[in-house]
């Protein structure tokens, strides 16, 4: 049941992100001042915001901002993190020690603060939010892959490959990494959830997307202003969808973890 439900949730989100504009009942950017701050109804499922924009359509459109941003960040950090971690774990020595030290110092900071600082310095844009998210996730990949590769580099099949005359690049890329691919896959799916949390968290505090662009964190931040005057729906819809999205990714990661490591599954 768990496998099915997590896969179903993910499929739902992907479908919504792809088909978003086609199924959205309204233009997410269109003002309709006559319909401002309407509570949820059959016409406006999540209600309307202060400018009369349909919150449901905006939440749908936001999936097209958040999901690609999170995916881009995860692809970037997994590519770099796996390469660096593999090199460290395979080669060992001085490189390994220095990278290890840098990773330790990085992990020492509250990572959300590092992301805030990076976006502040690089400039306030969605691209830089993606970059910052990628950077703060790097240490996790480096640590994981380094440890897994280091534990395997003296195993029989690696020795055999070496005796057969395979180069170091071939052994890392075609022998070792495929062997730890499931472990990396688990990390990637857990990471997607964090990346969505991070992107929306940065947007909530005003970093990343520019106002009319719909984005989950920005939508919640926008709606939060109307909570204290009783218009709860402006924030509720995007909040629920955001939580559901992160939950789906976490569930997938959890499921993948159980699938790939049956011994630790309880």
């Amino acid at each position: 049941m768990k496998y099915g439900s997590s896969a179903l949730l993910l499929a739902l989100f992907l479908a919504l992100a792809i088909a978003g504009p086609a199924v959205a009942p309204y233009n997410p950017l269109a003002y309709a001042l006559a319909d401002r701050l309407q509570p949820p109804s059959l016409h406006h499922w999540f209600g309307t915001d202060a400018l009369g924009r349909d919150v449901f359509s905006r939440t749908l459109a936001a999936a097209r901002t958040d999901l690609p941003a999170a995916a881009a960040a995860v692809i970037l950090s997994s590519l770099i993190g796996v390469s660096v971690g593999a090199a460290c774990g395979y080669l060992g020595g001085a490189i390994d020690r220095w990278v290890g030290r840098v990773v330790d110092v990085m992990m020492a900071f509250p990572l959300f603060v590092v992301a805030v600082a990076l976006v502040a310095a690089l400039g306030n844009s969605l691209t830089n939010v993606v970059l910052a998210t990628a950077v703060i996730n790097l240490p996790f990949y480096i640590r994981l892959v380094r440890a897994e590769i280091a534990a395997r580099r003296q195993l029989g099949y690696v020795m055999a490959a070496r005796l057969a005359g395979c180069g170091h690049g071939y052994i890392i890329g075609r022998v070792l990494i495929p062997n730890i691919a499931p472990i990396i896959a688990v990390q990637i799916s857990l990471n997607l959830g964090w990346a969505v949390l991070n992107t929306s968290g940065l947007s909530f505090i005003g970093l990343g997307v520019r106002p009319p662009t719909p984005e989950w964190g920005a939508l919640v931040s926008d709606g939060a202003q109307y909570l204290l005057t009783g218009q709860w729906w402006v924030a509720l819809g995007p909040s629920l969808v955001l939580v559901l999205a992160v939950f789906a990714f976490t569930l997938i990661g959890d499921t993948a973890h159980d699938l790939f490591s049956p011994r630790s599954a309880r």
Binding site: V105, A108, A121, S221, L227, L228, L236, S239, V243
Partner: protein, 341 residues
């Protein structure tokens, strides 16, 4: 205090130096090198020409070589000079020092609530692994991990303040009409209690509930998960089996397991505390809490780099101090940890 303990403490102090040096390098690179040209930015007002920019560059030391710039920067930091904030007009070090207790108070409050709720749940789950209760706790942890802090905070305010009027207004640490007590510890709740000012105490405590609850929900899932893991490990060990075989009462067996899970639990709290320092930024914004996170965000929006840079350094210093404390407490909780290492 014997000599070996003192040398152990000194060696531990030395191990946090790389973190502090790393933090200094990081802020130098991020805040001084990445922004296109701080001088051009600062001098971008009307009536500022190329000559003004050049003068400002010379004043900021931006015309020197990079190592010299870094040296100057580190020298200033060593003298407690974090620069001036042009938002508040005060030295950044002074601003941060005034706001740090508010942030720490929030993080401590959140951690306390998370520990009081999460640890018993984690222990109970570890006692019956695989049971319905264990599964429910795990599901709760996954769900808790998916809840962003700002969503929790925003809806707690709506529910508890707007709908039910249980909580006071979510604006800061204490009712603006009340005078703050004399600063002793910097923690408003404790200071007002020390001063015997019950109105101030009630107001400060009331305003702490919602933000600390938000912080606690952040930390609850990791506290529960890690307590469970530490207890499962401890309960699976030989001495527990021996104690059970000896027929010791359950209460005593549980106490032995808890004592042995002590060191990993202390490490866990250190980790979560540093994680909460990051979460502070968002929670302080939601609750208009006058801490260092809100200060850094204000600085960020005004491109006040000194403020942001000071914030990062303070967080790194607090983190280093917490790690040091964790190391020392672990040595105390688990005598097997060698002091010579």
């Amino acid at each position: 205090m014997n000599a070996s303990l003192i040398s152990f403490v000194l060696r531990r102090v030395l191990t946090v130096l790389p973190v502090l040096v790393g933090a200094t390098v990081f802020t130098f690179v991020v805040m001084r090198l990445l922004p296109a040209d701080p001088a051009a930015f600062l001098a971008s007002g009307p009536g500022m020409g190329a000559a003004d920019i050049a003068a400002l560059r010379a004043k900021l030391g931006l015309d020197r070589s990079l190592p010299v710039q870094f040296g100057l920067y580190a020298w200033q930091l060593l003298h407690g000079d974090f620069g001036h904030s042009f938002v508040t007009g005060n030295p950044v070090a002074l601003d941060l020092l005034q706001r740090l207790p508010a942030s720490l108070e929030l993080a401590c409050g959140g951690l306390l609530i998370a520990a009081v709720i999460g640890m018993p749940l984690g222990i109970a789950a570890a006692l019956r692994p695989g049971s319905l209760f264990d599964t429910a706790c795990r599901a709760l942890a996954v769900l808790g991990g998916a809840l962003p802090g700002f969503v929790i905070g925003v809806f707690l305010i709506y529910l508890c303040y707007f709908k039910l009027s249980w909580a006071p207004e979510p604006t800061g640490q204490i009712d603006a009409a009340l005078s703050a007590p004399r600063i002793v510890t910097g923690f408003l709740v404790i200071d007002s209690l020390l001063a015997g000012n019950m109105t101030a105490f009630a107001s400060a405590l009331g305003r702490m509930v919602l933000p600390s609850l938000t912080m606690a929900l952040f930390a609850l899932a990791p506290v529960m998960r890690m307590t469970r893991a530490a207890m499962v490990t401890a309960l699976a060990s030989d001495y527990i089996r021996s104690s059970r075989a000896l027929g010791l009462p359950n209460r005593l067996v549980l106490r032995y397991a808890l004592e042995n899970a002590g060191a990993p639990l202390i490490t866990m709290f250190g980790l979560i505390f540093s994680y909460m320092l990051g979460a502070n930024v968002v929670v302080e914004k939601v609750f208009a809490w006058p801490g260092i996170g809100a200060y850094a965000l204000d600085g960020l929006q005004a491109a006040d780099y000194s403020a942001v840079q000071g914030f990062i350094l303070v967080v790194a210093a607090v983190f280093a101090a917490v790690n040091l404390l964790v190391d020392l407490l672990c040595g105390w909780a688990d005598p097997r940890i060698p002091r010579a290492a």
